[in-house]
């Protein structure tokens, strides 16, 4: 199976790899997927007082498309409000990376990851 140039670029030079302090109140962490299924994504967002995502980091266990999907996602969410970030659709990611049908689930996982990260952030604010 041939990968698109964009997948290869993100896979070889992944953006925003790393870890944010998951205990911090202004950091939201979303971890989705399962090792048994062959992919696990951890997406973290750091949100400022104005509700803007000022930083994002990821780590992903999975195929090249899963790594590329999460790398692209971190680029997209930076500078967005939480609401805007939640509007990112898996189809946008799949289209941007030209994912073949068997790899669409990677983009679905990325969408799940941003939702999970936002939820985690929101739950911390209510405490």
């Amino acid at each position: 199976m041939a990968y698109s140039d964009k997948v290869l670029d993100h896979y070889e030079n992944p953006r925003n790899v790393g870890v944010l302090d998951k205990e911090s109140k202004n950091v939201g962490t979303g971890m989705v997927g399962a090792p048994a299924c062959g992919d696990v994504m951890r997406l973290q967002i750091q949100v400022n007082e104005n509700g803007i995502i000022e930083d994002a980091k990821f780590k992903t266990y999975g195929c090249g498309s899963a790594i590329a999907s999460s790398s692209l996602l971190t680029e997209w969410v930076k500078g967005k409000t939480l609401e805007q970030a939640q509007q990112i659709k898996n189809t946008d990611i799949a289209e941007e990376l030209a994912l073949p049908p068997v790899k669409v689930h990677c983009s679905v996982l990325a969408e799940d990851a941003i939702r999970a990260a936002v939820e985690d952030f929101a739950s911390k604010q209510n405490k």
Binding site: G33, V40, Y61, H105
Partner: protein
């Protein structure tokens, strides 16, 4: 050193140049292009001589009578002919077949088809090292069992089954034994005088011959009967009709001749390279060998790199041709069914890479692969949240994952 490096010899091998050269002389107008079934002229006689010479060469490698060799299109067809042919022919005696969960799909899917036709099949679990427990096999045999099908060398993990012992068991119970030897012929010693195998599938392209040709060994003493699966002109004593592909058959014969003469030397060299590769990788953290190391074909190394997903590692090793699982299933997202049958967790099954080394592999290539694998596994682990968790001492089994 030329890139990419080929380390997928279990998927297929390049044709040995000596084999290719000989094949070419059976194709063109100035060569021996005749139909071996033509009995009325020199062209046919020459082709027939070549086919019979090849039959002798194939028989010689396995110490069999040339009359016991039936040409087919490859090991998949041989498996089909052996299993369907014998099961159907002997169906009045019984309709039970025994095989193993780690067999090639050509055996498993053929058994599934027979199940749809009313046969009953027992699929044995191998031990965690990939080998069959003889007591387990014995317990699975019944009065209505007519056929046992067990492969000699496994295509994914390279383990060698104890065919001698299995043959003693099946013969004592008057049950036929079929062995898929696609991965072992020319690599592991096979002697039909001493091994009690009744049917054996052979392939040319796993041993530096051409694709598209194989053979089925069918024992004459005690005689084994088969129901033909392909009908036509009655070639191959009625067991497999169809014009014989002279150039392919000659190629298989030459490949088997070379294998017989050079097996010991090839094996020693390949084993040295395989051990060098494993020595270069085994000191890494969280690296697991799949399948027994001792009872194993020389060219195979199947390794799981925990916390790294296999497909992404293959992508990272883009200058090296390796596979994750078997080539026949690598388009699917399922982890290897062979590793699952060994009881490997899905995570490790997802993380497996099969390196297979062969006649044309060099030491320089092995060293390049070691360095590349080490570097890329480290890189991907830096990207892996599971590696982080492992390093923090989190037991991944205690985490509640949302399966998707």
């Amino acid at each position: 050193m030329k890139l990419p490096i080929y380390m997928d010899y279990s998927a297929t091998t390049p044709v040995d140049p000596r084999v290719a050269e000989l094949m070419c002389s059976y194709l063109t107008p100035d060569g021996k292009f005749g139909n071996p079934a033509s009995r009325s002229h020199r062209f046919g006689w020459d082709a027939d001589d070549a086919v019979e010479e090849a039959r002798k060469q194939v028989a010689a490698l396995i110490n069999a009578d040339p009359k016991e060799v039936v040409w087919t299109s490859g090991a998949t067809e041989s498996d089909n002919l052996a299993i369907k042919g014998a099961a159907r022919f002997y169906s009045k005696r019984g309709k039970h077949i025994v095989t193993c969960k780690t067999e090639h799909k050509a055996v498993l899917d053929t058994c599934r088809q027979l199940e749809r036709e009313g046969f009953e099949v027992t699929y044995l679990d191998p031990k965690p090292d990939g080998l069959i427990d003889l007591a387990n096999l014995e317990a699975a045999l019944r009065d209505d069992t007519t056929l046992v099908s067990i492969m000699h060398v496994n295509n994914e993990i390279g383990v060698i089954q104890d065919i001698e012992a299995i043959g003693e068991l099946t013969r004592s119970r008057k049950i036929l034994l079929h062995v898929d030897a696609a991965q072992s012929a020319g690599k592991a010693p096979i002697d039909m005088e001493t091994m009690k195998i009744d049917l054996m599938s052979l392939s040319a392209h796993k041993i530096y011959g051409p694709k598209g040709v194989g053979a089925l060994y069918v024992r004459r003493k005690p005689r084994v009967r088969l129901e033909a699966q392909i009908h036509g002109g009655g070639h191959e004593r009625g067991m497999r009709s169809g014009t014989l592909a002279t150039h392919q058959i000659v190629g298989m014969g030459e490949a088997f001749r070379i294998a017989r003469e050079e097996m010991a030397e090839d094996n020693a060299r390949i084993l040295g390279l395989r051990n060098r590769l494993w020595a270069g990788l085994c000191d890494m953290e969280e690296v697991y060998l799949n399948g027994d190391l001792e009872q194993r074909t020389p060219g195979n190394l199947n390794v799981s790199f925990a916390f790294v997903e296999g497909e992404s590692l293959i992508m990272a090793l883009k200058d090296v041709a390796v596979s994750s699982g078997s080539a026949c299933t690598s388009s699917s997202l399922e982890p290897s069914y062979v590793l699952r049958a060994l009881g490997r967790e899905d995570e490790l099954a997802h993380s497996s890479i099969r390196f297979t080394i062969g006649r044309f592999t060099t030491e320089e290539e092995v060293d390049y692969v070691i360095e590349l694998v080490r570097r890329q596994v480290l890189r991907l682990r830096e990207l892996s949240p599971l590696w982080d968790m492992f390093k923090e001492g989190v037991d991944l089994k205690s985490v509640k994952w949302a399966a998707h």
